[in-house]
């Protein structure tokens, strides 16, 4: 069989100079309405690596773009400045569909505690994939407020949604333990151990309780 020649990227899809541009030049690409999609995508990735605070607004402006949403989040996720999370929170209300889910996922990844009240409401929405993303984000964020939201949602959800909520609650338990909040974690594990919890999550909760009890090595 004849081997096909290896395709070469065309000039317009080569990163070239973008790889070594400074933040100011990269931001100019994002602000240039005539700049091609490829250049904007690559600029976002590099700006995320640079952690450029000045790029937050121009990148947030791309969150509604079906192709560039992931690149904008690529840039925004690693920026520690609170303005990056703020921009993501602000975008949630303005977006719909998968791009909205992507932004919710990013808030979870950034463990943005200020997003908890908003995410807590989204868990009960009619948009199931969005509700699932919100639950997962709550678990990832962790903390007592997330635990409260997830515990409440456990009692009000069924099927696949309940499974996702339970999974998020398990993650939340681990976050609580890591933060030294053992008792609330054990309480949430106990709720998850109920027979109404999907089997994989119920067994995981029981394992979590056993592991935590063992970690104290108390005599019995």
């Amino acid at each position: 069989m004849q081997q096909q020649p290896k395709p070469v990227p065309p000039a317009e899809y080569q990163e070239q100079a973008i790889a070594s541009m400074d933040a100011a030049a990269l931001v100019r690409i994002l602000q240039d309405k005539s700049a091609p999609e490829f250049q904007k995508a690559k600029a976002c990735v590099r700006l995320g690596e640079l952690g450029a605070k000045e790029a937050i607004a121009p990148m947030a402006a791309l969150l509604g773009d079906e192709h560039l949403n992931v690149y904008a989040r690529y840039g925004l996720e690693p920026i520690a400045d609170p303005a990056a999370a703020e921009a993501l929170r602000a975008a949630v209300a303005k977006l719909k569909g998968n791009v909205q889910i992507g932004v919710v996922n990013s808030l979870g990844k950034k463990r943005d505690e200020l997003a908890v009240p908003m995410l807590g409401k989204l868990v009960y929405g009619q948009n199931v994939p969005l509700a699932q993303a919100a639950a997962a984000a709550l678990g990832s964020i962790g903390g007592l407020a997330s635990a409260k939201e997830l515990q409440a949602a456990l009692g009000k959800t069924t099927g696949m949604m309940k499974m996702v909520v339970a999974d998020a609650a398990l993650v939340c338990c681990e976050r609580l333990i890591a933060d030294g909040k053992r008792e609330p974690a054990l309480a949430l594990y106990a709720v998850l151990s109920a027979p109404t919890t999907p089997k994989p999550q119920r067994l995981a909760a029981m394992s979590g309780i056993i592991a935590e009890e063992r970690s104290l090595a108390r005599p019995r």
């Binding site: 395709p7 065309p10 690149y71 996922n105 994989p200």
Partner: protein
């Protein structure tokens, strides 16, 4: 009545109730070695391409297992794998799925074989664990440091078994080298050498470019959105789908991840370093020609990831690794033969062919599913070897020596490197 129940043990109850119903297998005409259908471990597969088909060929030989479901975004692949499984078993039991959630929802499936492109490995493995499945997953197991930790955390959380496709842990020649180190024959460990992917095949810095856009095929032939999955969007080109996704940053970790996921993993396994990573990473060389990353563990042991060509300088074969102690050294690879210092030669013995490693590895996984023992290439071990590779990959991209704190899981001398520990996943995917 209450007292009677308390005094009757579960075992006694079972003996009374079940014993008269037991019929010797001989009476049923069953042969020695036969495994009852109800006792088989049932497998599904997701994304079984050329490499996955090789894994599957070993799985199909295992009598204790049965492969009953395939999920793939390519209809041609689904049909091929179903045909392979059905021919093997002489039935039509293998069901086909386009959606991984439908396959994973099947309560009768115990484990899944995942052999998709690298971008899918961590998300799919975690979803499988959430559905209570054990997982055999091809390498590299993750696309970033963050994914590596998420993978290990999920399998610990769900107490599910994970076998990374690092089959050389079950290769006899590799095991003999490990044995010589552990028995003290090599003396005090000095340096581990992990051959990484040759730059002529997989440069250490994959391209961040895109290929020119081609017309999308019909969705029932290939669902491009599903094929991309968690990878950032880019226009369709048929080359990606034919295996040409390698060497593109969005899909691939370059030569370091391509082979380091095997050979760094071997080094960790041999030297009992499965729970840690080196503390510094110094890149050497460029994107063309031989390259290396020199690393040091907290205990002073050195790890050298090096491009030494396909078969290595000593022609021991692909994916070779070398252990140097202060009293001797050994080196082996996929050609089975072991090279060593003169003082070690009398200690060598013939070993099984290295090509048996995959079959052994798959067998180990099936045994572990039955016994619930941890497989040798667990998610935790894979996380540590993959974090080591990703850290080296980041050092190479940064072009500078990076310092790493394994306890804090962060670089201590480069903020940009820390921001490269994670990659954004395309919506709606997450880990």
């Amino acid at each position: 009545m209450y007292g009677f129940i308390l005094m009757t043990t579960r075992r006694q109850m079972l003996q009374t109730a079940v014993a008269p119903m037991i019929v010797p297998s001989v009476v049923l005409g069953q042969r020695a070695g036969h495994v009852a259908p109800s006792d088989k471990i049932l497998f599904g597969g997701i994304g079984i391409g050329s490499r996955g088909a090789h894994d599957l060929s070993k799985l199909l030989k295992i009598k204790e297992a049965k492969f009953i479901a395939i999920c793939d975004v390519r209809n041609e692949r689904r049909e091929t794998i179903k045909s392979t499984a059905d021919q093997n078993y002489g039935d039509r039991d293998c069901k086909m799925y386009e959606d991984q959630y439908e396959l994973l929802a099947r309560q009768d499936i115990d484990a899944v074989l995942i052999a998709t492109g690298d971008r899918w490995h961590t998300p799919l493995s975690i979803i499988a664990a959430q559905h209570g499945k054990d997982v055999y997953c091809e390498k590299p197991c993750s696309m970033s440091i963050e994914e590596s930790w998420a993978l290990a955390a999920a399998f610990k959380r769900y107490d599910r078994l994970y076998q990374a496709g690092c089959q050389r842990r079950n290769g006899a020649n590799f095991a003999l080298c490990r044995e010589l180190l552990r028995a003290g024959a090599l003396g005090k460990l000095q340096t581990l050498y992990a051959n990484v992917g040759p730059s002529v095949n997989w440069p250490p810095l994959p391209s961040r470019d895109w290929l020119a856009e081609e017309p999308l095929p019909a969705k029932q032939v290939l669902d491009w959105d599903r094929w991309l999955g968690p990878a950032p969007w880019r226009p369709y080109h048929s080359s990606y789908v034919r295996g040409g996704w390698r060497n593109f940053y969005d899909f691939h970790g370059g030569g370091i991840l391509e082979w380091g996921s095997h050979t760094v993993d071997l080094c960790h396994w041999a030297a009992d370093l499965d729970d840690t990573q080196p503390v510094d990473y110094e890149p050497v060389g460029g994107n063309t020609g031989p390259y290396a990353v020199n690393c040091t563990y907290a205990n002073g042991v050195k790890l050298v990831m090096r491009d030494n060509g396909w078969d290595g300088a000593l022609k021991t074969g692909s994916c070779s690794f070398r252990i140097e102690g202060d009293k001797g050294w050994v080196e082996t690879g996929d050609l089975t033969k072991i090279e060593c210092s003169d003082n070690i030669r009398p200690l060598l013995r013939p070993t099984e062919d290295a090509r048996m490693a995959l079959e052994n590895h798959m067998n180990e996984f099936v045994r572990c599913i039955r016994t619930r023992r941890m497989p040798s290439a667990s998610a935790a071990a894979a996380a540590n070897s993959h974090v080591t590779c990703h850290a080296a990959f980041i050092a190479f991209q940064r072009g500078k020596k990076l310092m790493w704190d394994p306890a804090k899981a962060e670089f201590t001398n480069d903020d940009v490197a820390n921001r490269m520990r994670s990659r954004a996943l395309r919506e709606p995917w997450r880990v």
